[in-house]
Amino acid sequence: MRPILLKGHERPLTFIKYNRDGDLLFTCAKDHHPTLWYADDGERVGTYVGHNGAVWTCDVTHDSRTLVTGSADTTCKMWDVETGTCYFTHQARSIHWFPYDHFDQPARAVALAQGDEKMCISTDPFMGVPARVHIVNVAANREEQTNEIVASFGDGVEGRINRALWGPLNETILTGGEDGVIRAWDVETGKIKLEARDHKKQIQHLCLSEDKTHFVSASLDKTAKLFDSETLECLKTYVADRPVNAAIISPILDHIVLGGGQDAMAVTTTSSKAGKFDSKIYFKVYEEEIGSIRGHFGPVNALAFNPDGRSFTTGGEDGYSRVHHLDNDYFRIR
């Protein structure tokens, strides 16, 4: 089936998120406006206006009412999904991010905890301040939302934390970033519980399985790897012949999709094929490639599976998103 092309962003895509029901699709890009689309037909619903920098990430609550976004403008905003109004802004300048309360740091990753009562925000190293992960409460009643930080940790991390996720039962935060190390942080103590140094280059993306027992990591070392989310044991390796920017796990089949591509600087020929901008599908268990899907004219930066597992969306450096509805042939693959 032909992919649906989503044209709305003028700059490279950075992140894609489906809501729980799989009917809404949120895209973030280096332009300042996160955008909402109908996941099925790709119709644009609207944009969230308020950020003043690249938007790196977003997450949406289980009830699809609240969208949280993190931006290079050093803020993390909370929006009403339906009306598009921002009802709360976490800003580095105005809040005490212990012990660093006098610098602005770009927000790189946000993730809501299971139950939507908390969220974690990772901030980039900036002006000598190293990267940190901060945990803030998410108030059920929007009027009661505060910027109070419950916990903040990050000792030992070098470079950016590109991705932060809540581990099983909200007991850990899983992070991966520029230093190529995957860490599980104890949410209670803020200490590193486990580390995995299986990747040789920086980690671009992490994605948990539906049941949270395992997650996949995407790395510039041209591989994606599957880890036990509890022990951080590396279970599988997917060898791609290009730097991997994003990897996702199918919610219904034992499949992995990964995307990436050569840096524009490294591509020597004009052919879009040379850059390896296609997304590849792998058998999760066998580590074998099943097929690939072409279309983008630049590296794929973001990937997300529809929770129903019947479609996924790719977001490219070329500024486009493509919704791929998987056809019956795909579901016959064994």
């Binding site: 049941d211 949270k212 395992h214 012949d241 020597t268 040379a274």
Partner: protein, 623 residues
Amino acid sequence: DDDVNVEEVKMDSGFGSVVVVDNLPKVPKAKHEKLATIGTVAEGGLHMPADADGVTKGFAFVEFLNSQEADAARQQTDGYKLDKAHVFKVSRFDDFAKYDAVPDQYEEPKPKPYVARENTQDYMLDARGRDQYAIRFGDETEIHWNDAQKKEPVEVYKRSFWTESYVQWSPRGNFLATVHRQGVALWGGASWQRYQKFSHNGVQFIEFSPCERYLASGSTHEGGGDTSVVVNFFDTRSGAKLRNFQGPISDFVVHAAGSRGGLTWPVFKWAGPSPEGAFFARMGNNAVSVYSAPDMSLLGKKSIKLEGVIDFCWSPADPILSVFQPERGGGNEPARVALISIPSKKEIRSKNLFSVSDVKMFWQQSGDYFAMKVDRHTKSKKSTYSGFELFRVKEPDCPMEVLELPDKNEKIVAFAWEPKGHRFAVIHGDGARPNVSFYTMIDDASAINKVKLIGTLKNKTANHLFWSPQGKTIVLAGLKTMNGQFEFFNVDEMETMASAEHFMATDVEWDPTGRYVATAVTSVHQMENGFHVWTFNGRQLYKHGRERFYQFLWRPRAPSLLPPEKEAEIAKNLKKYSKKFEELDDSIRSEQDSHLAAEKRAVMDEWKRWKQAKTEMLESEEH
């Protein structure tokens, strides 16, 4: 003792740069200076012992700047006739010391313990008739079976840091040669033991004789402001050095008008195997010198005089040389091509050519035909056009004809003879999608044989031609700017069997039987390194990706020992064999399938167990 990397340390006697010149005239002191004019000598490096009366003793010690120069001087002056009575005998000083050390009493050499050598043709005994290839990537060299039934490479042997630069099979496939700073090593047999080593410091280039009996190794050395060239000839079985050629690079480069200049390996080219002997030749200024193995002497003690010669080539099958001399005497003498039979040195055929700007020679594999692409310029020299001179070498009087393509101004992109056949293919055209034409040397319709066009394929993405070693099938390849497009074409039927792509492919190599083709992306590109193996009709067997991929080399096979009548008999009874092979292949395939299926099942079972355990644990923690 197979560690070839260990440097064989030789202590320098300090006299390496000293030669001894004997058979000098015995002259009084007054005439000493006359003798001192030979060679470039280190300051105060000439010492001529004289007797009490001041008369020289008839020999001299000469010290040069270094041992290379000393060797070169020795080579140039040894045997020099000063006059009838005085023929120089020049030797290395070190050799005197060496011979001094030889005991006067002859000692019988102790016999070396006999070690049975493994059969270096063991790879030809494979029960399933598979072929091997060598690949080199990163620091690794690996030998694999090409397993068409299992559709995967099956490892035979591998070794890290096996070679320091590249590897090369000997022409009959008995040995794999590895190239090191200290020299060359040959490996073979089932356990890949080292079979032989040849020391040659700084060796860069190697070339086996087609019969594998001899190995030439070459190197260039910088030093003293000039580059010198060393070429050694070895006996592959005994390891003995048979001859050494060395001298300044200028001795190995042709200084003629139209010469391409610079040193091009191979400096010495081997002739095809022949009953008359093993010949090799090199081109000099106004001459081609032919040598014969194993005595390595100049054939007939004389080079073949060929004024202005700038290119030569051996027939791959017979001792026949093709030579090209460009226009000489400021245009008074035309360019000329000639075929010369060796060892008789008789010209079989020659032809004068006019207005020639460049030529390229192409021998057909079995030596039946010889073609020369001739680029000519118009009178004004403003534009060039191309044509072919075709020689029927094996027919009486070696008939010759000229072929011009319909549009002779078109660029000739590639030319290739069908091996063992009578056809050739030409890629011609100036655009991005040139045409491919096929010609035959046999015209059934005509009483005399004439070259005839079979057909032209228009607008092909091809810039290279790769005939199957069996002929009939050709791969039209679009490499480099064409990104790796392939067309597997059947020339008998003039139909395309398959089109395929191996993105960015740089190399194409047919297996020795014409059943399979390998295409590779080598490290000239950063991405996509590795190789694909295809059937002759363009069906992909498997892909193999390897970073920093350098070489893919099918292992050659020695010519078949089967008499022709036996081959005919086999062809007649092929059904009987076919049945057996099909059963064998089916069982291997099903075994492979069930093996793979079992492997997959095991992996899946393990995964399921893991997941079950995790899920249960999570559930119990949640409650």
